[in-house]
């Protein structure tokens, strides 16, 4: 009983670490109010330029995932519209997507 309980608590400790990592990643990938974003198409279809122009997003280049794009713009109201088109809007990690030069 003692050994099983100990193993269970070790698993719980690992779960706590996993939760912490997940929380940090989720918070890290949550799109900011403005800046660089990574657009990932969940349905595998390419993202049209018309949609980007409609949402006032500037294309910066291809993303690390197949069909993904790196764009600049604002996220207010945009993430919900893109999700309706099967596109996930994430914050662009600097390690992958490069730094954003802020002017203000």
């Amino acid at each position: 009983m003692g050994s099983a309980s100990k193993k269970a608590w070790i698993g719980l400790a690992a779960l706590q670490g996993g939760l912490a990592l997940a929380a940090i990643l989720i918070l890290a990938l949550t799109p900011p109010a403005f800046g660089r974003y990574l657009l990932v198409p969940l349905n595998g279809q390419p993202i049209s330029d018309a949609l980007l122009q409609q949402q006032l997003l500037d294309r910066r280049g291809p993303g690390p995932l197949p069909g993904s794009l790196i764009v600049d713009g604002h996220s207010a109201g945009v993430a919900e519209t893109l999700r309706a088109h099967g596109i996930l809007m994430l914050a662009a990690p600097a390690l992958i997507c490069g730094h954003i030069e802020r002017t203000a």
């Binding site: 918070l27 914050a91 390690l95 802020r102």
Partner: protein, 501 residues
């Protein structure tokens, strides 16, 4: 349960509470400063508090639990820094990493601190590359992340040995307490053994003393008998004396009670009589006072009477003088009447001569003769009137003499009456003086009677107290007599036992 484990379980509960305080604080900050992504941050905080709460409810602490709390202590400040992203206070949020590390000292264990330091350093390095603006305001860089990692590592380097040392101290303290309790138990056992040994020694000593007493009993017996005889003679004499004295005292107390009772009754009677005498003296005083007032009224009337007598005597003297003057005037009237009578005689003689002359004249003197006859008649009438006046004057003179005699008698009577009134007033004055003396004497007698009654009342009170005192003396003497009897019996019993010993 050892002291260190109790301390760590207590720390688990406190740190769980601190985790929930962090959740509430994050929510408060987000609402206050209108921060973005507050739902994600607060939800992550709640999620991270779940397993620590489970540990606190199960009262469990081990390596896994310490790791859970270490992760939570690193993640809660990270959520604060994330929530302050873009806010000027984002850098200040990093201070709470050190607060989290300090809070882990409540567990008195270096392992959760090491976990927290590892998580803090790792996620700073990771996020410094992935989302540098998430970590620092503006762009982050590796040196700054390394400085932070170094700082938290130094915290571990300082707090870790302290925790290890403190844990050892708790263990040593628990061992010392256990050892002390074992020593105390040993001491109690030794004390019980010593008491048993002391009891055995006391029993042995009692046996030895009994044997010694038996050995010395014959030697002391004769001496005890001699002491008993001496004691009996002296104590018996004393007891007899005390009993006799107690009986005499009881009799004296009885007599004193009787005398005091009689004295009380007589005092009460005397007090009653003294009160009656006082009331009578007051009545006498009142009567004498009224008599004095009456005498004063009589004296006043007598004075008035003397004054009236004096006035009457003065009036009678005045009447006497008037009557004397009247007598003198009567004498003068008699003189005048003599003159009138003389004039009437001469007139009669002249009328006779005229008649004679008229007769000589014949008819010529007839008329003259008539006048002469008339004159003669007038002279006769004047003589008659003078006679009548003389008779009246004589009557008046006689009446004046009688009045003078009567007034003289009245004057003398008035004088005697005034003299008698004066004597009576003097005597009444003397009587009033005597009455005032009697009144004062009666008042003094009444006061004296009151004082006597008061003194007699005090005597009666003293007699009553003497009765009570004599009762107490009688009771004490009876008690003394009983004590003497008891002493006599105890002495007899003591001597009997002493001789039998």
């Amino acid at each position: 349960m050892d002291e260190l484990r109790k301390l760590r379980l207590h720390g688990v509960q406190l740190l769980t509470a601190c985790g929930w305080v962090c959740t509430v604080a994050l929510l408060g900050l987000a609402l206050t400063f209108d921060l973005k992504n507050e739902a994600l941050a607060v939800g992550a905080s709640i999620l991270m508090n779940a397993l620590p709460t489970l540990s606190a409810m199960r009262r469990r602490y081990d390596l896994a639990t310490s790791a859970i709390f270490g992760v939570n202590a690193a993640v809660q400040p990270a959520l604060l820094v994330y929530l302050l992203q873009g806010h000027p206070w984002q850098m200040e949020g990093h201070m709470y990493f050190f607060v989290g590390l300090a809070a882990l000292t409540l567990l008195c264990d270096w392992r959760p601190i090491a976990v927290a330091v590892a998580v803090i350093a790792a996620h700073h390095l990771l996020l410094g590359y992935v989302v540098p603006e998430w970590v620092f305001l503006g762009s982050g860089d590796l040196p700054r992340v390394l400085v932070h990692a170094l700082a938290v590592s130094l915290v571990l380097g300082l707090l870790g040995p302290v925790m290890v040392r403190m844990g050892r101290l708790f263990v040593a303290q628990a061992d010392a307490r256990a050892e002390s309790e074992r020593s105390a138990d040993s001491a109690f056992e030794a004390l019980a053994a010593a008491r048993v040994a002391e009891g055995n020694a006391e029993a042995e000593r009692t046996k030895r003393q009994a044997a010694e007493r038996l050995a010395n009993a014959d030697a002391h017996r004769d001496e005890l008998l001699a002491i008993a005889a001496t004691f009996e003679s002296s104590v018996a004499h004393i007891v007899q004396s005390v009993a006799s004295a107690a009986q005499q005292l009881e009799k004296a107390a009885h007599d004193m009670h009787r005398f005091a009772h009689e004295a009380g009754e007589q005092s009460a009677s005397a007090a009653s009589e003294a009160e009656s005498a006082s009331r009578n003296a007051v009545k006498v005083s009142t009567g004498v006072s009224e008599l004095s007032h009456s005498i004063t009224a009589i004296a006043t009337d007598a004075g008035k009477q003397a004054e009236l007598g004096e006035t009457a005597r003065s009036s009678s003297a005045t009447g006497e003088s008037v009557i004397r003057t009247l007598t003198e005037r009567t004498s003068n009237i008699e003189t005048f009447v003599g003159l009138i009578d003389s004039v009437a005689s001469q007139t009669n003689l002249l009328a006779l001569n005229a008649s004679i002359e008229s007769a000589r004249a014949g008819d010529a003197g007839a008329g003259f003769a008539v006048v002469a006859a008339e004159v003669k008649a007038l002279a006769e009438k004047a003589r008659d009137a003078a006679g009548q006046i003389t008779s009246l004057v004589s009557d008046v003179d006689a009446g004046a003499d009688e009045a003078d005699a009567a007034i003289g008698q009245v004057s003398r009577a008035m004088a005697e009456l005034s003299e008698a009134a004066g004597r009576m007033r003097q005597e009444i004055e003397d009587q009033r003086t005597v009455a005032a003396m009697i009144e004062r004497s009666a008042v003094e007698n009444a006061s004296g009677a009151d004082l006597i009654a008061q003194r007699i009342g005090e005597v009666a009170k003293s007699a009553s107290e003497a009765v009570l005192l004599s009762d107490e003396v009688q009771a004490s003497s009876a008690s003394l007599s009983r004590v003497a009897d008891g002493l006599k019996a105890a002495t007899s019993e003591f001597l009997t036992k002493l001789r039998a010993a």
